[in-house]
Every structure is written in structure tokens, then in C-alpha cells.
Symmetry: C2
Subunit: 294 residues, 2 copies
């Protein structure tokens, strides 16, 4: 399949949905909408929404309105980046090759812009009128748990902050990444499958796929942070080591980490074994996640 | 009616629901759940959840499960206080007579605790299994809009921050408070009414009541900030003037502000004219809001 064409078409759809669903910069108070849009339209690869769409396609059949549900994953992801970059957290000045949100709008507005994107995600899901109220409720539950403090993204953030004070070890590493990156990537795949009305069996297979690519994504993220330049990454590299973060290269070494990423890629593929050609985009995305260079 | 007994019984119910719905302090990562609970169980008066319950009672009939829906208003209110108190925003050290969240847990954990309470509010609403999925969706939409950037709480925060740089004037004051405090208080009343299945007509009357008490609440808040001591308020007084905030006393003077609060109280009462004794708690709460001393 032509993955580049696939991604480019879905990215355009997601961008159009975000453009429609996020209040315009002219809506008062203008500054908060400018701040939200600054980070939202900073050239993100839309990995999570595209995973949701691809999972829905794998289940089969057309899914009208799915772009709206899928783009809530980007709202949550973007809020987490804005808050994560704050001086009180990772204190990052550069993201996707541009100054971070708080460097442009100040800390107060960056905090509120993150809050606003998080809040908007749930409003947008509640207003997915193409599907039933019960389906919307399932999606809201998935997303809120994946973003939350019990095994979700915020739990991962906290494990990450606590990890800075500890010696690297495999158990902490696992709990950080299962939560910090894995939960939302996994939820992306699951939300797409739920949207498309997947059976329990298919939902389980796709959940396994999601867990494996979530882990693969984070291993590769850690490898790139320790090997790439700022120009390649669009963000400050080497931050993990500087902040004493517990990473895969720190715990397992670079070569073992690369082998682990490939192992997760194979396991993600195996999870899709019972599915036909409709899962090809998911297979290609898994491959891309492991072999990306930024 | 015996308002004190009424409030005390509802407060106990809300506290029990929050206790049940917020992860325990032993749940890893423990520190985030400690931080969430520190601010959540700091002796708040539970005005918003109680308004929701009282509105549902005014509509009539028993409302099983409403405590769970009502306490999401307290989750949102508490998140907004934690973020509002941060050094980057109002930089407050004292809240409800105790050190603010970031003074105890640090800025990073306070930001994440706020994020977590906001996220949890939507999970808890999605899991209100006593009502239909469609009803839950309506509540989620109400809450997300009231907390959001288009006329909601975050809009109010931004207007407030921008107001610090401007001369006090009635129009900015109105846009700040309609959004900052009014939207969530209004949503409290509306969510209770929706939960109880109010007709459009009753929902409209209760919405008018909510708008008037929202305004009254903020006028009184501004008056108290400029006249009470820290001991009486449980938070630092005189902050509004020190931060050049646009307040009712600053725009209209103290005596006019007091008259305005009484006018809003009368208007709130008039909105309930078509309703019987079941609205007595709402009438008593409006009176309490205007005549409180902290």
C-alpha cells in the first residue's frame, strides 16, 4: 500500500476537523484560542487520530463522523505536550521546531490553553452526533481513563517525575511507559474499533496491537532522544539524560533497545494475524512507528 | 425550612460520593491522589453540587444516583482553584485556611492534580449508570461548555487576566463574571434540572435563577475580598486590589455593590415564582449566598 498517500489524506481530514471544531482565533477571548491553535497546528503527525481511523477501517465498513471523534485524541495529546513543556515540568523551549507554548504566550496562558484543550476534547466527543449516546459514552470513558491517574497518561507523567530521583530499573521504566505513552496510543486504536462497532474478539486483538505499538513508540522515542540532533527532532535532544530520566537505552543499552522495538513490531503484527487486508494500514503504521527518524 | 440541617445532610452525601469516586491515596502513583484529595477535602462548602441536588429536588421526584453527577461540579471547581492559585496565575499561598496545593506538593504536581480532577469529572459523568447514555451526554455537554473557553470558566479566567491591564469598567466586569463564576454556578442548577428530567419551561426558569445567583455570588465575593480579614475568609484578602483586578466595588463602589447583590437575590427569587415548596431550598441557598460572611 501507499502509506504516504494514506497518511497525507487522513492528516488533511484530521486537520480539517480540528479547524472546524476548535473556536476560531477571532472568538473572544482571542488569546486563548490563539494559544490553543498555536500548538494544535504546529505540524503534528496526527499519529493518534490516524490510528483511530485505521482501526475503524480495519473493523470494516464506512464510519461517518469518525474524524470528529478521532481528533479528540489530538486535543488530549496536545494539551499534555503544552503542560509537559512548562517550566514546572520538563521546562522545554522547543517543540516541533518552534518555541513552546509558554515561551510565546506565557505560563498562565499555556496552563489555561492545556486545560481548554482537555475540556474541549470531552465536549467534542459528547457532540459526535453521528453515533448513539451510548457509543459516545463508551468513547468518553475510554478517553478519560486513558488520560487519567489510574494507569493513564497522568499516572505516567507522575511516574516519570518520580523516576528522575531513582536509579534506572526495568520495573519503573515499564510502569512509566505503559501509562505515559501506551495508554493513549492504545486508546486511539480501541476508540476507532469501538466507533466502528467491533466485536469483543476484534477489540481484544486490536487492543493487543495498540499495546505493542505503544511500547514500540516509546522505545523508539527514547532511542531518538539519545541519538538525534535538535534539527532532526524539532525538539531539544539529550533532555532525558540531562534530566536523569529512566529510558530504554539507559536501562537496556542502545542495541538491546533497538532489538526490543523490532520485537514489539513483530508482536503488533501478530496481533493482527486474524484480520485481512483492511488491517494493512495498521501494519504499515506499526512499521513506520519503529523505523521513523524523528 | 432548616437550611443548616439541609446543607449538612447534602454536604455529607457529596463528601461520601467524592470519597467513593476519587482513587484512594494508596492507589499508585500515590502522590497525585494525595494532591487531588488534599484540595478536594479542604472543607469546601460544596455550593455547586448542593445547587444541583436542590435543583433536581425542585423539579420533583427522587433522583437516584444524582450525588455522583453533582460531585463532578466540585471536581471541576477544585481543579480551577488549584490552577488559579499557581504562581503563574494568581500566586496565592492560602486557600480555605491552609497552604495552597502547589505550596504543599510543588507546581508540577499541582498542575497535574488539576488536570487529573478535570479529567476525572468527565469519567465520573460517563459512569453515571443510574441514567441513560443520552442524559449523561447532555450533562457532559453542559459541564464541558460551562468549563470552557466560549463564555465558560476558562474564558472568565482569561478575561480576568487581561482585565488586570485595563481600567475598571462595567463591560469587562460583566464579561469576566458571567464566565468565570456564573457559567459553572448556572450549569450546576441546569445539570440538576436536566438530571431530574425538567421540562424546557422549568429548565429555563431554573437557568434564570442560576444566572442571578451566579452574579450575586461574585458580587459578594468581591465585597468580601475588600472588607474581610484572612481569618474570616480562609484566604488572602485584598488580593483583588493588589493585583489591579476589575471588581464590583472597584467599578460601582461598596454600597452600590451591596444593593446590586440584593437586586440579584430578588431576581433569583422571582425566577422561581412559578414553582412550589419544592424550590424552598433553592430560595434559602440564594439568601445564604448573598448574606454569607466568608
Amino acid at each position: 500500500m501507499d502509506l504516504a498517500a494514506y497518511l497525507s489524506e487522513r492528516t488533511a481530514r484530521i486537520n480539517a476537523a480540528l479547524e472546524r471544531l476548535v473556536p476560531p482565533e477571532t472568538q473572544p477571548p482571542a488569546v486563548i484560542h490563539k494559544a490553543m491553535r498555536y500548538s494544535l497546528f504546529a505540524g503534528g503527525k496526527r499519529v493518534r487520530p490516524i490510528l483511530a481511523i485505521a482501526a475503524a477501517e480495519a473493523v470494516g465498513g464506512p464510519c461517518p463522523g469518525i474524524d470528529q471523534a478521532a481528533c479528540t485524541l489530538e486535543l488530549i495529546h496536545t494539551y499534555s505536550l503544552i503542560h509537559d513543556d512548562l517550566p514546572a515540568l520538563d521546562n522545554d523551549d522547543l517543540r516541533r521546531g518552534r518555541p513552546t507554548n509558554h515561551k510565546v504566550f506565557g505560563d498562565a496562558m499555556a496552563i489555561l490553553a492545556g486545560d481548554a484543550l482537555l475540556t474541549l476534547a470531552f465536549q467534542v466527543l459528547a457532540e459526535c452526533r453521528a453515533i448513539s449516546g451510548d457509543s459516545r459514552i463508551r468513547l468518553i470513558e475510554e478517553l478519560s481513563i486513558a488520560a487519567g491517574t489510574v494507569g493513564g497518561m497522568i499516572a505516567g507523567q507522575v511516574f516519570d517525575i518520580e523516576g528522575e530521583k531513582q536509579a534506572p530499573n526495568a520495573q519503573i521504566l515499564d510502569s512509566i511507559h505503559r501509562a505515559k505513552t501506551g495508554a493513549l496510543l492504545s486508546a486511539s486504536v480501541r476508540m476507532g474499533a469501538i466507533y466502528a462497532g467491533a466485536t469483543t474478539e476484534v477489540l481484544e486483538a486490536l487492543s493487543r496491537y495498540g499495546a505493542h505499538i505503544g511500547l514500540a513508540f516509546q522505545i523508539v522515542d527514547d532511542i531518538l532522544d539519545s541519538t538525534q540532533t535538535a534539527e532532526q527532532l524539532g525538539k531539544t535532544p539529550g533532555k532525558d539524560a540531562a534530566q536523569n530520566k529512566i529510558t530504554f537505552p539507559a536501562v537496556y543499552g542502545l542495541e538491546n533497545s533497538r532489538a526490543m522495538a523490532k520485537h514489539e513490531l513483530a508482536a503488533a503484527g501478530a496481533a493482527l494475524d486474524g484480520m485481512g487486508d483492511s488491517a494493512d494500514p495498521l501494519r504499515a503504521i506499526a512499521h513506520m512507528i519503529v523505523h521513523r527518524e524523528a
